[in-house]
Structures are given as C-alpha cells and as structure tokens.
Symmetry: C2
Subunit: 211 residues, 2 copies
Amino acid sequence: MRDIVIIGHKAKTSGDFSLNDLPGSAGRMDILCRCVSSALFLSFGMRRDVNVHLLLLGEPEPGKIIRFEGLHLRYLNPDERSSGSLIQKALQKTVTEKDIRSTPGVWVRNGDLNTLLASFEGRTLFYLREDGEDIRGLDREIRDPVFILGDHMGVTEEEEKQLLEAGAKIISVGPISLHSNHCITLLHNELDRAEAERGEIPGGEKLRAGE
Amino acid sequence: MRDIVIIGHKAKTSGDFSLNDLPGSAGRMDILCRCVSSALFLSFGMRRDVNVHLLLLGEPEPGKIIRFEGLHLRYLNPDERSSGSLIQKALQKTVTEKDIRSTPGVWVRNGDLNTLLASFEGRTLFYLREDGEDIRGLDREIRDPVFILGDHMGVTEEEEKQLLEAGAKIISVGPISLHSNHCITLLHNELDRAEAERGEIPGGEKLRAGE
C-alpha cells in the first residue's frame, strides 16, 4: 500500500466554492486536485494500491480530512474538475471525527495532522523536502510507505516538527523544487521500478485482479 | 532546449468550446492542458528552456499547431483551465501556415506532424512508447532533445511510420503505461538530474537570469 498525504493550508472546508474557479474560490484546491489525479491514475485504470489523504486547513472549518481509496474509487476522471467535484461533494456532508462515506471510495472526517499521523502508527513516514535525501538511494528499501507533501506554501515549522517527532524521514525527488503533483509522479515511478525489479506488478494490478 | 510535442487526435481546432468541459466539448483538451502544465512549471517559476507544441487534429479544421515558449510565456497558471483558456484564445485567431502570436509566448499556425518534424531537422527525436528503451540508460547522452507523445489514443500507425522515418528513437520512462503529462514530468526529472550532474543549472535558470 502507498499512502499519500497532501496538506492544503488554504483549501476550503465547505462545499460552497465554484468548480470554475478552483484556484481562487476554493483556496488553491486545484493543487490538491492535481495531486489526486497524479496519485491515482495509470494510463488505463486506477492505482488500486494507493490512498490519498487531503488535509484541508482553510476556512470556514479548518481541519477536515478527505480520503480517496484507489481500491474502491468510482466516478473519478483525471481532469481537475472531476476530483474537484468529488471533493466538493465530500465537503457538503455533515462530518464528525468518524469517517463518513461521500461517494464510492471517498471518505471525509474532521481531523488534523496529528489525527492522520496517529492513524499511520507503525508505518514508515517520508516527508518531501527539496533538500532531503535522494529517493534514488532508498527506493529498494521502501515498503508500505506514507508520503507527506505540502502545497504551494510548503510545510509549516510546526507541521515539520510534528512530522519529525513522528519519525518521518526527509527525502527529495531531484535537484530542483517541483510542484507536489509532479513529486507524486516521481515517487510512484521510483516505487514502480523497484517493484518491477522485484518481479512484482506495479500499480496494484494484483489487487484489481482479485476484486 | 527541450521541445515537447503532444498529439491531440480529437482536440478541437476552433475556440468554441467550454472551459467548464475541457474533456467533452473540447475533445480531451484536458490531456493537452495537463501536458502544458507538466512541461512548463517549476515550483517557483517557469521552465525557460522548454517549448511545447500541441498538434490538434480534431474538428472542425484538423491540423493546427499551438506552441508555448517557456522563455516568453505570460498569463499561464498551473491549473488546466488556465492553459485551456490560452489554447482557446489561440484557436480564436485566423491562422495560416505562418506563425501568429496569440498571447505572449503562445503561437498558432496550420500544420501537421510532418510540418513539425521538418521544423526539428537536425535535432534528436525521441518518441515515447511503453515498450521503448528505458531513458535511464540514455539520459546522460540526451542533449537538445525533442520528445513526441501521443494522447489517450496513443500514436497511430501512420504517425509512428512518420516518426521512425524521421529517425526518432523509441524510449520509455518506466515499467507501466502512464498518462502523457506524467511521462513529461519523468522526462524532465531525468534530464534535470543529468544536467545537475554535469554542473549545469536545470530548468533554464541561466536563460531566466539573462532576460
């Protein structure tokens, strides 16, 4: 399983935004939409072994978590508006601390970074930062990872502190600073290559076959 | 310089589509929009050393080429709707075989794959196909490349014939078939790493500094 967390510092936490203006009205929700698409799509299908966790910290109710589960996901197309629409539907739900299913494979609840980190106890955490250790030296060791990425604002000092306390390792994907969705594509590629080398089938094909 | 060609087999060739429905009304223009964004954006700025060539083959006037020049580009944001809007503006121009500037850094003309290939004479062409040679064995040799990618329909037999006749080398970016925009991110990363190893500054920073 690959879990990917993206922190949206300004991303709206109510569904009253316009799908025609995801960058403006929805607090740079376009960034999160592109991350969802990069995390989940293969050329002909979905990555079944991936969960995406969007941590939304914008107004009016900072601290909501939307989870996309590749294994159960439906109604998602690769365009930004499609993931934006599923996010909007999830934000129209009345949420509590407990998971509520919005659409197939999409879940929403209240929570913050600590909530998420607690749910990953025992997993290996990797926090993406441009000066981190190059993933190319590590990719053969990485199993069952959780990756944590910031948005256009990066990761705050407070968040970084929480990540390091939780044992996250700092990694990078190349020599220059890239958008989060591009980083996700690069992470997947490293792991796909490592899985293929081990004779496994990348992208969770086995899971799909067993559905 | 890195030139990237994406063939949009169904992409509309008039500007009368809705930015609210890039996949449907504009003939999977969403794919081309994501490619533009992946090709041109760095975390804090634009890749100045990249040109993107969209070959639009959909109705009503199949055979238009829109070129985005990283060095001169303005008004582009990373969201799909932003590149969709610049494409739409270009398609609203009356075009001929000669380049017409639509907005800063965006040019449009009539043409087909052969027109494009002729304009790259002397350059090294790389055609992306999932069973191609792995770029990781080649990346240190690649200078001044032109990459050619298909859309959701891939590349037709006829196009492939033209590409091979023009001397294109078939390469791949990993063990599984990916969306074109993800392939572009992976191509850039390989070249960025090779440039960094050679002590160059990836992303065309030198060009930017000299503007």
